[in-house]
């Protein structure tokens, strides 16, 4: 097409379109965009209502923000060990990492079997619904509450933390695993079943090998989450590790500089885990 031609065509097209605009202006009703608008309005309204209803206890917001800035400045610019040495801090971080590792491993093993039972194409509908419902309930109770509930029976410490966090890991991983199992082509299972393969053979020779990359990347993602969670459990539920030291430094010693050091340490490990996870995902060529 020559340039002159395209220009004249565009002009006439434009004129027609503008003539149409006068007669037909309204957009047809669209459920999706209606729901989007309603959701946005509801979120905005709840936010405004929230800000108006909070009990601020006469806090001077500008003073608090400026003092937060100076807190953060002291924390990050003058980090300093006070109550323990660098070696001890590393030891505490490895305890936290150990808690995260144990919970992820236990969670993954249990979730593997429950995930197979929860996948609709591998088990009956009833079993799948029961497991999915149970798992949704477990996920709805925040991790810290699980840990504290187990702490009554086992005492505060690593046992309660590992069991409580495992509960949550299991429920998270069952959901992730079973969804990736359900993506498997129906024909594959049918073909194997027709050739006389039993349930275990189908699960371990076809289903798991095809979704293993997804499973690894979900599991590693859970490991990252569990690292953050075990820091939090150390602080809130006495699980030990670096989180407990951070809680002591902040709530008992009021030692900003030590909080800064610990934050740097946690940050370094979290970023290292994230970089490693990115590498792993690229190597497995999956996008989750």
């Amino acid at each position: 097409m020559r340039p002159e031609e395209s220009v004249s065509y565009d002009k006439s097209g434009y004129k027609e379109a503008s003539a149409d605009n006068i007669t037909v202006k309204t957009k047809p009703f669209n459920k999706a965009s209606f729901v989007i608008q309603m959701t946005l309005i509801a979120l905005a309204a709840l936010t405004l209502y929230g800000f108006s209803s909070f009990d601020y206890k006469d806090i001077n917001i500008f003073e608090a923000i400026s003092s937060s800035f100076s807190t953060v400045k002291t924390m990050f610019l003058e980090p300093h060990f006070n109550h323990f040495t660098f070696g001890e801090a590393l030891m505490q971080v490895s305890i936290t990492l150990g808690l995260a590792f144990l919970t992820t491993l236990f969670g993954a093993v249990i979730a593997l079997f429950l995930g197979l039972l929860a996948a609709r194409n591998l088990s009956s509908n009833t079993v799948s619904y029961i497991i999915k419902g149970l798992v949704a309930f477990i996920r709805a109770v925040p991790t810290v509450l699980w840990v504290l509930i187990f702490a009554v029976a086992a005492g505060l410490g690593s046992v309660a933390a590992v069991i409580g966090m495992t509960f949550h890991s299991v429920s998270y991983l069952v959901k992730a695993y079973s969804e990736s199992f359900e993506e498997l082509d129906k024909g594959v299972i049918e073909a194997l079943r027709a050739s006389g393969a039993n349930w275990w053979q189908i699960a371990f020779q076809a289903v798991i090998p095809t979704s293993i990359t997804y499973m690894i990347s979900w599991t590693f993602m859970r490991f990252e989450i569990n690292f953050a969670v075990s820091v939090a459990m150390g602080a809130a539920a006495g699980a030990g590790g670096i989180g407990y030291d951070m809680f002591m430094a902040s709530a008992f010693y009021y030692d900003l500089r030590e909080v800064g050091v610990i934050t740097y340490l946690i940050l370094a490990f979290a970023v290292a885990l994230e970089i490693f996870a990115g590498r792993l995902k690229r190597k497995l060529k999956v996008t989750v």
Binding site: A32, V35, I36, T39, L43, L46, T47, G50, F51, S53, F54, D55, Y56, K57, I59, A64, I65, S67, S68, T71, V72, I95, L97, G98, L99, F101, L102, L105, A136, F137, A140, V141, P142, T143, L145, L148, I149, F150, V152, A153, A154, G157, S158, V162, I163, V231, A232, A235, A236, G240, S250, Y254, L256, V259, T263, I266, L267, A270, V271, E274
Partner: protein, 261 residues
């Protein structure tokens, strides 16, 4: 050829198992985790829960208090998410590779997002406790910072995923930067962004419990109060209320997601 393949596969899985077992043993030793006690405590916890952990008459009288602080917690979570989403949208626009201004901005906003995301909300609440004290804003800002980091990263990926081709096409027609953003990028990516916002609201309500325990606000504070005073029946009522709330919010956001995506 084939037997070598199987031998290699067997050797690889043996090495993998050995590494996992030694890591597990190492983790068990340094965390002082008692394996036997782990199993027995599940049984003990189940026994204890069935005999002590249910709401009674006295706990029901506390229901208004519980609902009050639950409302506060839910509102804090929503407010933190929406405000964080606004900031995250700005940073994601500047940082995404399709709509970004320059490479410097992109790496800057990725760095900021990574910094905020990797400091956990529990750590944020302990940091903020110094200046804000036992106040609702401590929890608000802790959730805000965590959400901001997470949403910036998620928005950046969503924008790149949805709009890279349409931005290229519009740029070729000579559309200005702002008309590209407001006519194409935002409308096409809104469903995905909203889905992330809803996910963040759910996550924040879960996080709000631990933030509350650490900062002494909202539903978390009430739980630790009941828990520490051994008032388990009230604590159990609180857990039930939290579970119902989270399931309800999950249900609503799943419904919205099904309609808009």
């Amino acid at each position: 050829m084939l037997d070598k393949y199987f031998a290699k596969k067997r050797r690889d899985s043996l090495i993998f198992c050995a590494i996992m077992i030694s890591l597990t043993l190492g983790a068990i030793i340094i965390t002082e985790y008692d394996v036997v006690k782990g199993f027995t405590s599940i049984v003990k916890a189940a026994e204890w829960t069935s005999s002590n952990f249910y709401p009674d008459e006295k706990a029901m009288n506390r229901l208004p208090d519980i609902l009050d602080s639950l409302t506060e917690t839910v509102l804090v979570s929503i407010a933190a998410t929406t405000v964080a989403a606004l900031f995250a949208l700005l940073f994601a626009m500047l940082g995404s590779s399709t709509t970004g201004v320059s490479g410097v901005f992109s790496s800057l906003s990725r760095g900021v997002a990574s910094l905020f995301r990797n400091i956990d909300v529990a750590a944020w609440s302990m940091i903020l406790l110094f200046s804000f004290g036992q106040n609702v804003l401590t929890g608000y800002f802790a959730l805000f910072f965590g959400s901001f980091g997470f949403l910036t990263r998620a928005f950046m990926e969503a924008i790149d995923e949805v709009s890279s081709s349409s931005v290229e096409a519009l740029r070729a027609t000579g559309a200005s930067y702002f008309s590209i953003i407001f006519q194409s990028v935002i409308p096409t990516s809104v469903p995905l962004l909203l889905s992330w916002i809803l996910f963040m609201v759910e996550t924040n309500i879960r996080h709000a419990t631990i933030v509350g325990i650490l900062t002494g606000t909202g539903i978390g504070f009430l739980f630790s109060l009941y828990y520490k005073s051994l008032n388990y029946s009230s604590a159990s009522l609180l857990v039930i209320v939290i579970v119902i709330t989270i399931l309800l919010i999950e249900y609503i956001s799943n419904y919205i997601r099904r309609v808009i995506l």
